[in-house]
């Protein structure tokens, strides 16, 4: 089954309001009962400058952009070719521009798209306070089958404060654009949805991340702004206040990680969110949290690295630092969200894991999912609430052992304020009491204990999403070898991989998707089970050096025919690119 969808871009320069226009369109699509995904791309300017809103609409849930766009609606052409690589256009695509801004730049025409003109400026000029971007929205609505009533409702809400005249001006421009679209060439139209298939949410990955940590029980957040993680923190600031928590802006990332260590030591579940440069600064103190056994969550919304890299664009290249960045042998947990919706699940799970094992847990998301807004089925309610094993009262005649040897490796933690259990938590190697020790035996015992905590923990089925494509309805997952082919991936690459497999299955093929959520500690037995009967695999990731592939090679038994499909950001994989690789692998072995 392939997805019935339409993809379009609205692009323009400073003041054209393309992101606003995209948001209005997304909200209207929500009213119309559709599902949607919207990503943004912008130039380097702090304010204004060129921007593009990339949207995909569908009548069923979607997790990825398509290979190309059906429509590029250009309010103007300023600097638009900066986005050429991010806006794949084919001969089936249509570019619509405003004649007052001249012809489309040659840089957009490599795929030989069709072209058409929509005099947005002239049409808008005939309406009092009419704006070209509303004319463009009207035309888009007509072309993709979006009912005008849906936009009416959205504009009324958005411009409520500006009054009836502003609403009328916008909607007049919208209707004029709607009428003018009659002369434009066709692009795919989505059918109207009579009744929505179920409850839906409109949410960004960064918002879902914030909600996930609150659901998990986090009530203290330290924040230092960094693109593209800032929205997580900005969403959390007022939201935490509403549920009795607090967010504090720190002076730098060194401070934010140490503030959450302090808060968590005080018994309050804590987290921070950052991106690669900030994670780099936090690494030393993450080691402290490992040694002192302080639970906490750090979300890394990955962007293109190294160094400042491309701050506004996505890459899956912080896997190595998240897994291997800490000095010494420092067992900790690394999990990765694989969609906008999964940001909620994975961060909530991360809080649960951190608290249960008294271990720092790094959550990897990325700019592509973090800053994307999606209209998606309402995420499930989850039972995960962080629960720390706490030492409640002193035992008569026994001195409290903060780092007591236990079978699970988890030692009940005394929270300051508890009489009789005072102790010093320490980043120095220590004995069971927490007393600093340079003895080999104490080091060995504490290393074993810290490793045991996370290696013996039962992560259940959440370690990966395993989905079979192309099986009949009666096929039980994880049993049939499914033609022996699998995609192994993680994070944002899961969306296009999933869609590639939907297309494969529509064409009669079969394959398994393994999207790894628990990056560390590794789960060789579970992976072996997931790979049973698999003879060929494609490993998909957005990293120039193939970090995930190398990690899989190091820790897992992979099928003999395993190929690595990896590329650095900021370009994301299209489903067809992955499908082509899969078909090539299957053909080679046929």
């Amino acid at each position: 089954m392939t997805v019935n969808s339409v993809s379009l871009v609205i692009a323009g320069s400073g003041g054209a309001g393309v992101v606003t226009a995209g948001s209005l369109l997304l909200d209207a699509a929500a009213k119309a009962g559709w599902y949607a995904l919207m990503s943004r791309s912008s130039g380097p300017q702090i304010r204004g400058g060129e921007a593009a809103a990339m949207l995909r609409f569908a009548t069923e849930p979607i997790m990825s952009h398509d290979d190309s766009f059906h429509l590029l609606m250009a309010i103007d052409w300023d600097n638009i070719t900066r986005f050429s690589a991010e806006i794949p256009l084919t001969a089936d695509s249509l570019i619509v521009g405003d004649p007052v801004h001249g012809d489309a730049p040659a840089g957009l025409l490599a795929g030989r798209p069709r072209q058409a003109a929509l005099p947005m400026t002239d049409i808008a000029a005939k309406i009092e306070n009419g704006r070209p971007n509303m004319v463009a929205l009207g035309a888009i609505a007509a072309m993709i089958g979006l009912p005008p009533e849906a936009m009416q409702a959205v504009v009324e809400k958005a411009l409520k404060k500006k009054g009836a005249a502003a609403i009328d001006a916008s909607m007049s421009a919208f209707h004029a654009g709607f009428a003018a679209a009659a002369d434009l060439p066709a692009i795919p139209k989505l059918p109207a949805v009579s009744a929505a298939s179920g409850p839906r949410w409109s949410i960004t990955g960064n918002e879902a991340t914030g909600l996930g940590v609150i659901r998990g029980g986090v009530r203290f957040v330290a924040a230092y702004p960094i693109t593209p993680a800032t929205e997580v923190l900005e969403w959390l600031a007022p939201s935490l206040a509403k549920v009795g928590g607090m967010l504090v802006q720190a002076e730098d990332e060194l401070a934010s990680i140490n503030q959450i260590i302090g808060a968590s030591y005080g018994g309050v579940p804590a987290m921070t969110a950052t991106s690669g440069p900030g994670l780099s600064l936090m690494i030393e103190s993450l080691g402290l949290a490992v040694a002192a056994e302080v639970p906490l969550v750090v979300v890394d919304v990955m962007r293109v690295g190294p160094s400042t890299g491309i701050a506004t664009k996505s890459e899956q290249s912080d896997l190595n630092i998240a897994v291997y960045g800490l000095h010494g042998d420092a067992p900790h947990v690394v999990v990765a969200a694989n969609s906008v919706s999964d940001c909620l699940f994975t961060t909530q799970w991360a809080v649960h894991l951190a608290e249960a094992m008294q271990v720092p847990t790094i959550v990897l998301t990325d700019q592509a999912m973090g800053q994307a807004r999606a209209i998606l089925p309402r995420p499930a309610e989850l039972a995960f609430i962080g629960q720390r094993e706490v030492a409640k009262a002193a035992v008569e005649g026994e001195r409290y052992k903060r780092y007591a040897m236990t079978g699970s490796g988890v030692s009940p933690m005394a929270i300051p304020g508890t009489p009789g259990l005072t102790h010093t938590a320490d980043g120095l190697e220590h004995n069971e009491f927490g007393t600093p020790s340079s003895q080999a035996s104490d080091h060995q015992a504490q290393m074993d204990k810290r490793n045991r905590k996370i290696s013996q923990y039962n992560y259940g089925d959440h370690w990966a999403d395993i989905e079979d494509f192309g099986g009949g309805p009666g096929d039980a997952p994880k049993e049939a070898p499914l033609g022996g082919t699998a995609i192994i991936t993680w994070g944002s690459s899961t969306g296009p991989a999933r869609e590639a497999l939907q297309r494969l299955s529509a064409a009669g093929g079969k394959a398994r998707l393994i999207s790894v959520r628990l990056i560390a500690p590794v789960q060789p037995e579970k992976m072996a089970e997931a790979l049973r009967g698999i003879k060929r695999a494609v490993v998909v990731e957005q990293s120039h050096s193939g970090q995930f592939y190398r990690m899989l090679r190091a820790f897992y038994e992979l099928p003999a025919q395993t190929v690595s499909l990896h590329q650095g950001g900021p370009l994301s994989f299209g489903p067809q690119q992955i499908l082509d690789q899969l078909n090539q692998l299957n053909a080679g072995s046929a």
Binding site: S202, A241, V248, E251, L254, S264, Y265, V268, P436
Partner: protein, 280 residues
């Protein structure tokens, strides 16, 4: 002690652990440990309601030598740990201990912002103008011509950091300088520092007998400051900038800035209400 009739009486030793310090004989830090425990006893704070947070260095070993809750973190980061702890647990009395290198060099940025933020903490800095744990290198408070380190055999050539001036300019709400040679006075000043709301900075001249043996003379050089504290930051600044660093034993500045607490919307919100905002 009629006013404390309801409170349990504590002695200084109730706040000491039985761990033997790693410090050299004659180190000023012994006195500081004694003065802290004496101050806690005078305040009659139950040990479990006190936390001492530190970074790395000789003086940062103090938490484990006390019987209160302790946190011994990484170099330079004691203040942010204490900030998070105090904000999350305002019911606790939180002290921060450390040295001049930990606080003013690697932790310098946190020092500025802890003064600015004015969280209700008491920061006791044992200043010996040297890195002792790494065996004697120049610290931010070392004079520029000190040639005792192999790392800077010609001296650093850099003017020393002025912690109290910088602390004042950054917004510290209580500033005092004491000498390790007068533990009774030091304990009194620490009591005042803990009682004063907001960020309290106490600089202790705490000699390093091993790498700066000449500091043994400090006990003869220090003098009790002749003036009492001011709440006028401009006056305090003038005094501190003209002072030679050996006026001790008195509080130099007491501000009245309210301590930092994040502002809350006092709503009885629920997670379900947060989720409802996403529902279509």
């Amino acid at each position: 002690m009629e006013s404390c009739a309801q409170k349990k009486a504590y002695k200084a030793k109730d706040y000491k652990s039985d761990l033997k310090p790693i410090w050299c004989p004659g180190c000023g830090d012994y006195t500081v440990l004694n003065s802290i425990t004496r101050a806690l006893a005078e305040l009659a704070l139950p040990p479990e309601e006190v936390a001492v947070v530190s970074g790395i260095g000789c003086s940062s070993r103090i938490p484990a030598y006390t019987s209160v809750y302790g946190f011994h973190g990484v170099h330079g980061r004691a203040l942010p740990v204490a900030t998070g702890l105090k904000l999350a647990r305002p019911d606790l009395t939180v002290l921060v201990t450390g040295g001049d290198g930990d606080g003013f060099s690697i932790g310098g940025n946190h020092f500025l912002h802890a003064c600015r933020r004015n969280v209700d903490l008491t920061y006791i800095v044992m200043d010996n103008q040297v890195y002792g744990m790494t065996k004697g290198q120049a610290s931010p408070t070392t004079s520029p011509d000190w040639e005792g380190s192999k790392l800077t055999p010609e001296g650093t050539g850099i003017n020393p950091f002025q912690p109290l001036v910088v602390g004042l300019a950054s917004g510290a709400n209580f500033i005092a300088r004491v000498s390790a040679s007068d533990p009774i006075n030091m304990a009194q000043i620490i009591v005042e520092a803990i009682r004063h709301p907001g960020f309290s900075l106490v600089q202790v001249l705490s000699p390093c007998v091993t790498f700066r043996p000449e500091q043994a003379e400090w006990r003869d050089i220090v003098r009790t400051a002749v003036v009492d504290y001011t709440d006028d930051a401009a006056r305090a600044a003038r005094r501190l900038m003209t002072d030679d660093g050996f006026n001790v034993g008195k509080v130099l500045f007491k501000g009245s800035r309210p301590p930092f607490r994040p502002e809350f919307e006092h709503t009885d919100g629920s997670v379900a209400e947060l989720e409802a905002r996403f529902a279509l």
